[in-house]
């Protein structure tokens, strides 16, 4: 993964596993820390408000959010739904391994979510354009930084 970022124009297509259907493109926002949506993300603005989280200060709106998986309260599923209704939800999400809180949140919100990608995805740089085609079970990473 790390190498491909530096190869201008090279597009990478990676197989993945569909959790929640749909297709979307956006700039990557990447963290190696699991996310508990309840308490970590402001459901009105999409901003990460937990000072203890690696993504503190970032906004999830329109991003392709790449993180290992969810954790914490099951209310997190509803928080994802609220983000979607406020128009500040991630465009798509990629997990190494999805767990039920984020999976259910993505489904009830109609946000494409896939998992089953290699852990090296978490080394991807922020801002790289990523397309998640959950229906086709394919993730595409655009070449340049």
């Amino acid at each position: 993964m790390r190498q491909s970022r530096h190869q201008e124009g090279l597009n990478l297509e990676i197989r993945c596993h569909r959790i929640s259907g749909g297709k979307a493109t956006g700039p990557a926002l990447v963290t190696k820390e699991p996310i508990s949506f309840l308490g970590t993300v402001d459901p009105e603005t999409g901003e990460v408000v937990d000072p203890g989280h690696q993504l503190y200060g970032s906004n999830l709106g329109g991003k392709v959010l790449i993180f290992p998986g969810g954790k914490g309260s099951t209310v997190g599923s509803y928080v994802i739904y609220q983000l979607k209704k406020r128009g500040v939800a991630p465009a798509a999400m990629i997990n190494i391994k999805s767990e039920p809180i984020v999976a259910v949140g993505a489904i009830i919100s109609g946000i494409p979510l896939v998992d089953g990608v290699a852990a090296s995805f978490l080394d991807l740089g922020d801002g790289v354009t990523v397309t998640v085609d959950a229906d086709g079970e394919m993730v595409r990473v655009e070449g340049a930084d």
Binding site: H17, I19, P43, T74, S77, V79, S98, V104, I107, I108
Partner: protein, 387 residues
């Protein structure tokens, strides 16, 4: 996961958007946990009811859903008594939102019975061998361990999805191979009724999500099993345990834990009540009719000096209005549809005394207040003591 032709049609959206989303939830969970197919459920019990826990986000989701449940479905406790909320000190804004939540569920065909003990009011919801999709951890434990039904612990949306589809993915506790005891617990004590909550509190911490097999000196009664399972599901995440003499033991080489009087005594001392206790709550899980009889008897001729709440299911309180009247003559209150853990009414107190191992585990984190433990008699004594 294999889907039948009808299930596939619903999954592809040919039965409408709500059913498509419901199927998508069931299929995603089935994939995550390695289920091979969906199986029909007898009933569903839905968590995500108290507005205090689900908030605006949860209310919006439930309100946006369309459709109708196809199997009997009931609710977990709400954040207030649905009719006497003013007596709990609940403000009007919260009450309006809470009633909106209940109405949204009712529109989907969910029965507004808000209780953590559906088995105490509706025996038809779960019989031995039935597959269920229940949410409330203590009810899941009771259904699996005492009734002999089979259920995983569902989240709010997955339970509601199961109710709309009438099915749940086949994994976890639906499979016999996951229902085998993993650890033996020998209890070296003549347990009093109030010891079971403490015992569960201790064992839950030890075994996490294991399947304990107890060896008791005498068979516990239903209220004792209710308290034991509830505590283990709160201090750990035990969803199934065995207590019958003829139940299988954990396989050769499994761990064995010995619980003695001293262990029970230690927790009792740590959580003994003191002068700081300003509210006493009985009924976690919801009191049975027998427990109401006991409380009414203990309160006879007495007046409470501190807040004393007894929480139960509405169906039980309506069946025994005589007991409710007797209890309330003392100044204590019987509240339905709710409990101290999920209601914002507990926010204004400092330290809550409970007779529940489950509440002892949850009150400090979910209500951010201190907790003390005692038997029903000790709780009533603390509530009626002068000075």
């Amino acid at each position: 996961m294999h889907l039948s032709r009808d299930e596939e049609r619903a999954y592809q959206g040919e039965e409408g958007e709500s059913l498509r989303r419901a199927m998508e939830i069931l299929v995603a969970l089935g994939d995550i946990y390695g289920a091979d197919r969906l199986i029909p459920v007898r009933s569903v019990q839905v968590a995500g009811v108290s507005f205090k826990t689900i908030g605006e986000a949860g209310l919006e989701w439930i309100s946006d859903l369309q459709g109708r449940v196809v199997v009997p479905a009931v609710l977990n406790p709400a954040g207030m008594d649905l009719t006497r909320w003013q007596k709990m000190g609940i403000d009007e804004r919260f009450a309006d939102k809470q009633i909106e939540v209940i109405e949204a569920y009712r529109r989907l065909g969910v029965s507004p019975d808000c209780t953590c003990t559906p088995y105490q009011i509706r025996p038809d919801l779960a019989r031995r061998g039935d597959h269920l999709a229940w949410s409330e951890s203590s009810a899941v434990s009771f259904a699996n361990s005492v009734i002999g039904a089979k259920t995983n612990r569902e989240g709010g949306p997955s339970a509601l999805a199961a109710a709309l589809v009438g099915k749940t993915p086949r994994y976890g506790y639906h499979l016999e191979e996951n229902r085998v005891p993993t650890i033996n617990i020998a209890v070296d004590s003549d347990l009093k009724p109030s010891d079971y909550g403490i015992l569960g509190y201790i064992v839950g911490k030890e075994v996490g999500d294991g399947v304990p097999r107890f060896i008791f000196r005498k068979r516990p009664d239903l209220d004792e099993l209710k308290a034991l399972g509830a505590a283990m599901a709160a201090s750990g995440s035990v969803a199934l345990y065995y207590f019958d003499e003829d139940a299988p033991s954990a396989p050769e080489g499994s761990e064995e834990i010995l619980v003695s009087d001293r262990d029970l005594q230690e927790v009792r001392q740590e959580s003994a009540p003191d002068d700081e206790v300003d509210v006493i709550a009985i009924g976690c899980p919801h009191s049975s009719e027998r427990e109401l009889v006991e409380v009414a008897h203990l309160l006879e001729g007495k007046k409470v000096e501190r807040e004393l709440w007894i929480c139960t299911a509405r169906a039980i309180a309506e069946r025994r209005t005589d007991l409710v009247a007797k209890i309330e003559r003392s100044g204590a209150r019987v509240f339905c549809d709710t409990c101290m853990v999920v209601s914002p009414a507990s926010d204004r107190y400092r330290k809550m005394m409970v007779n529940s191992g489950k509440a002892l585990a949850y009150v400090p984190t979910l209500c951010k207040m201190k907790a003390a433990y005692g038997s029903v008699e000790e709780c009533v004594r603390a509530a009626t003591r002068r000075g």
